[in-house]
């Protein structure tokens, strides 16, 4: 059976344009008045893109069943690699004290967590699609929770808060796509919501009553309801009280442990410089490669975490809108692919990959304007980084395959 090289032109176009745009921005990020090592990184970014295209082509010519068959071994292998980082991991860049990189000697090979983002999506899709019944109780979700929980725990031990957030985002998005009801999702998320709201007694109190009403209306198992409420009290009341008891230096240690880039002075400076860069860009920007904030090294991590600030400074509001529109176009396209997929596994994979990217874009872009905490999470197709580029194009390949086999596609019509 002959297969077309490009089965979903729009998907490829969106991802391709974003990648080329990204390579151009990595090039620009290297154009500083005082030359740094960043100046030549765009070359390796191009190389990684080419490798990624090759992987995508290969995956695009396999089949969804093959991918599903490979899922479990790939997942276990990526867990193994993640576990390895705890033993021989190395840090890099702003997160030099963490262990998210696999390295031989001083040579860093890659970040297993980037690959794990794809394998976890595949594994989660497989587990969820094997469920016959829609989960009615939190206990029904133990399997998918385990699939995300194990790599998540390892990643939080590295520690890499940003990637941890992505995993949680993927988890909830895929549960939603699998048909888990809203109340159950909220109950699941309630301990985390309690933690976030714990800074204000009033807000937390209000939330607690909402939760109580939800529990009474949804009527989960008694034990489950009690555990849930206890957990909420623990995260919303006890945790802040214990936090208060800690000495400031202990608090800082914990903060830095959970999020290495949380050094308030440094990150405060980064965000201010990023906002200044973006704000001074105006409607049309200062011109490609001409951003002064970037050129004069005021903008930190301009080729990785803060590459979107370079877009804002040099290409202005126009450039920002174009890039964000391209991302939206890509995500809507993938949602369509998920909708039209032939089977639940394909559908869940597509939606999971999309939601992972969406969390990346939301957190990364929001971070440049200080709308999100600084977590050192890259922007898909833009931020410099081999593993992530490779993983992203691996995902594109999978999506191409799913799209090709889906309803309404050229492939399915021919069948």
């Amino acid at each position: 059976m002959s297969r077309p090289i490009v089965s979903d032109f729009r998907l490829l176009a969106a991802a391709g344009i974003l990648s080329l745009f990204g390579v151009a921005m990595v090039y620009s990020a290297g154009q500083t008045d005082t030359p740094t090592a960043v100046a030549i990184l765009y070359k390796s970014q191009i190389l990684w893109l080419l490798i990624g295209l090759g992987v995508a082509y290969a995956v695009g010519h396999s089949s969804v069943r093959f991918i599903e068959w490979m899922t479990t071994p790939l997942f276990l292998f990526s867990i193994f690699l993640l576990g390895l980082t705890l033993v021989i991991g190395k840090g890099a860049g702003t997160a030099a004290s963490t262990k998210s990189w696999l390295a031989i000697g001083s040579h860093r090979i890659g970040q297993p967590s980037e690959i794990a983002k794809v394998t976890v999506v595949l594994m989660l899709a497989k587990v969820l699609s094997n469920h016959r019944e829609t989960p009615k109780s939190l206990l029904d979700l133990w399997k998918p929770a385990l699939v995300v929980g194990i790599p998540w725990a390892i990643i939080m031990l590295q520690p890499d808060l940003g990637t941890g957030i992505v995993f949680i985002g993927i988890f909830f998005a895929m549960l939603y796509w699998a048909g888990v009801s809203w109340p159950l999702l909220i109950l699941l998320a309630s301990p985390a919501i309690s933690l976030v709201l714990s800074f204000s007694v009033g807000l937390w109190g209000a939330w607690f009553f909402v939760l109580l009403a939800l529990v009474l209306w949804y009527r989960p198992y008694l034990i489950e309801g009690i555990v849930l409420m206890v957990l909420n009290v623990a995260t919303g009341v006890v945790a802040p009280m214990m936090w208060e008891k800690l000495a400031p230096y202990q608090q800082n240690r914990l903060k830095v442990f959970i999020d290495p880039s949380s050094d308030p002075r440094a990150s405060g400076y980064h965000v201010i410089q990023s906002k200044v860069a973006i704000g001074s860009g105006g409607w049309f920007g200062k011109g490609f490669t001409l951003g002064t904030q970037k050129r004069l090294a005021f903008l930190p991590e301009q080729h990785t975490d803060f590459i979107f600030s370079v877009v804002g400074e040099e290409l202005g509001f126009l450039g920002v809108t174009i890039v964000l529109a391209l991302f939206l176009w890509l995500f809507l396209r993938i949602t369509k692919i998920a909708e039209r997929a032939n089977d639940s596994f394909s559908s869940l994979v597509a939606f999971g990959l999309m939601s992972g990217w969406f969390v990346h874009v939301l957190v990364n872009v929001g971070m440049t304007l200080n709308l999100m905490p600084i977590t050192g999470i890259p922007l898909p197709f833009f931020s410099y980084g081999g593993s992530f580029m490779l993983a992203s194009w691996l995902a594109v390949g999978i999506l191409m395959r799913i799209s090709g086999e889906g309803r309404g596609s050229a492939l399915s019509l021919r069948r």
Binding site: W177, A297, G312, V320
Partner: protein, 588 residues
């Protein structure tokens, strides 16, 4: 799991909507930052990358009345540095200390300047030598934040000769910075510290300019040419003074090294100060850019007190020069007729109560009228004139002659003359019964509670030379101000004038200072000095009938007025270009 197509389609719709809302919110946030708040961030980005380097303005040049330069500006080099924090400044200074030969004092000063204005380049060396500058230029790359600038430096070609009135410039001090008068000033700037430099600071200081350097996040300059046009400094307009530099230098020359005292020459018609010198002097050029500790110590320890201006700051009992004032008060009050003799003729002294007041002439002057009493400076005559006026009227008369005020000369350091405000002064000082009318006798001959500056006496004689119109002594060429302090009839005026003329004729107290072909008028004086030898005074003017110059000279420990008169007559002769001048330095 529910994967019914309808369910999936519903979730896809919901997801698409959520995605769209998410992106619209993000784009909205960017719109706010990039379009609405654009200007604010542009400003911040400019502040980030543009480092303003102040360009000091040259001070106004000070000229004498003939266009000769009194104060000008020479190029010098200043070394300054920018620093993000005090700690970083400290470590930079520690690194630079050996190269720049910085002392602990220099370092402390730099840190103090930094704390005042952290965003401004901190001056380390206001006046660096060319050796230091060339070494620094070699190590420029090691110290990217260092700024070496060519700056104007104040220079006085005649140094010590003009110090008495021109003052000096120096770095603004911490207390000056707290003064609202200097609100617009920044640490490290040069300001006038004394004399004309201080008096006319608002005129002389000019307007500082700015150059914009583009720097990277570490403060390293990245481009030679400014990304924004420089604001050039605006030099101040010149200051024209009434000083006759030639006469000034002549005055300096005739004060021999051993003499200490002061001299001032005034044009009585306008109040223009032609020369003003306090001996010994000091070198204002050494004061520019920080006073060297050694030099300052030397000046402070000098017993001749060079830092005290003997023309405007030192106050001395005016002695017999005061007899002009006593005469003027007596005539104004109408207590003495022009030909009237005092009841008691001079026999070398005057008995008052149980005290005997001596005349300076032990042989006695006999019976005199006012004119001759002035010429011979007869104390006995003036004791009785004083008593006729009465203490209360006498004090009031002195106040009316403005002898309790400052002369109003345009120098910031002038001290006020000492003269009682009323009889209460004595009650306060000695108790109501602690003093007697003998004070009147003392005041009448220029002793007692009377202490005048040289400039104030020059002003009194200028007023007499100008028929009662007292001019405000002015060094800078502004609008002359006059005030009538007395009015005499023609006869009265001529009697006093004749008396003063005869002082410089054969037989007068300053007869040896007469000048061939020029009528001088004046009065010598001896200020009794409890702490040592008496001070010698002379105040006079010429030509006597149409005065063009008034000169007041005080010689500390000069014993009596004849030597002061020599100096004064030499100054007058030089100014009016009349000669030949008699032996000036002749010990008379």
């Amino acid at each position: 799991m529910s994967f019914h197509p309808n369910d999936v389609a519903r979730r896809a719709r919901m997801s698409s909507m959520a995605l769209a809302i998410g992106f619209v919110l993000l784009i909205g946030a960017f719109f706010k930052t990039q379009v609405i708040q654009h200007k604010q961030y542009v400003m911040q980005s400019e502040e980030n990358r543009l480092r303003p380097i102040p360009l000091p303005a040259p001070r106004g040049i000070i000229y004498d009345r003939h266009g000769q330069v009194i104060a000008e500006n020479l190029p010098a080099y200043s070394v300054s540095i920018t620093a993000p924090s005090v700690d970083s400044l400290r470590s930079a200074l520690a690194q630079l200390a050996p190269t720049l030969q910085l002392g602990q004092n220099d370092i402390n000063n730099a840190i103090r300047r930094y704390r005042r204005a952290p965003t401004r380049p901190t001056v380390i060396l206001p006046d660096a030598t060319i050796d230091i500058v060339s070494v620094l230029e070699e190590h420029r790359l090691d110290f990217p934040r260092l700024i070496i600038q060519s700056v104007p430096k104040r220079y006085y070609p005649d140094g010590p000769s003009v110090a008495s009135f021109v003052g000096y410039t120096g770095e603004i001090t911490e207390s000056d910075l707290n003064d609202p008068k200097y609100a617009s000033y920044k640490p490290g700037q040069q300001i006038g510290k004394a004399g004309l430099e201080k008096q006319y600071e608002p005129i002389l200081h000019g307007k500082e300019g700015v150059r914009f350097d583009e720097v990277d996040a570490r403060g390293r300059p990245v481009r030679g040419e400014g990304p924004r046009p420089d604001l050039n400094p605006e030099g101040a307009p010149p200051l024209y003074t009434n000083i006759d530099l030639d006469l000034q230098k002549f005055t300096v020359g005739i004060f021999a090294d051993s003499l200490q005292g002061g001299a001032i020459a005034i044009d009585p018609t306008t109040g223009e100060v032609l020369a003003l010198y306090s001996a010994p002097s000091w070198d204002p050029n050494k004061f520019t850019g920080g006073i060297p500790v050694e030099y300052y110590k030397q000046l402070l320890e000098d017993k001749r007190r060079p830092l005290v201006n003997k023309v405007i700051q030192g106050t001395y009992p005016p002695g017999s020069t005061w007899k002009l004032a006593t005469s003027l008060i007596g005539l104004q009050e109408g207590v003495v007729g022009l030909k009237e003799h005092m009841p008691v003729p001079c026999t070398g002294g005057y008995q008052f109560g149980n005290r005997y007041f001596r005349c300076w002439e032990k042989k006695g002057h006999g019976s005199l009228d006012l004119q001759h009493a002035i010429t011979h400076s007869c104390d006995v005559y003036f004791y009785q004139l004083g008593l006729k006026i009465g203490l209360a009227r006498f004090i009031a008369g002195g106040i009316k002659l403005t002898m309790r005020d400052k002369s109003g000369i345009d120098l910031p350091e002038e001290n006020q003359a000492r003269w009682p405000y009323s009889k209460d002064y004595y009650d306060k000082k000695y108790g109501p019964r602690g003093w007697s009318n003998a004070e009147t006798l003392n005041l009448a001959i220029g002793q007692g509670s009377n202490s005048q500056t040289v400039v104030n006496m020059a002003k009194l004689y200028s007023a007499f030379a100008a028929k009662g119109q007292a001019p405000r002594p002015e060094i800078a060429h502004l609008v002359p101000q006059r005030k009538e302090i007395f009015r005499l009839t023609a006869q009265q005026d001529s009697v006093v004038l004749e008396g003063l003329k005869a002082v410089l004729e054969a037989g007068g107290t300053a007869g040896a200072s007469a000048i061939q072909g020029l009528t001088l008028a004046g009065k010598t004086g001896t200020a009794q000095n409890t702490g040592g030898a008496d001070h010698g005074w002379f105040v006079g003017f010429a030509p006597a009938d149409h005065p063009k110059i008034v000169v007041a000279v005080l010689l500390e420990f000069g014993l009596h007025g004849s030597r002061a008169a020599h100096i004064a007559s030499a100054i007058i002769g030089h100014y009016l270009k009349v000669g030949p001048i008699k032996a000036v330095m002749d010990e008379g």
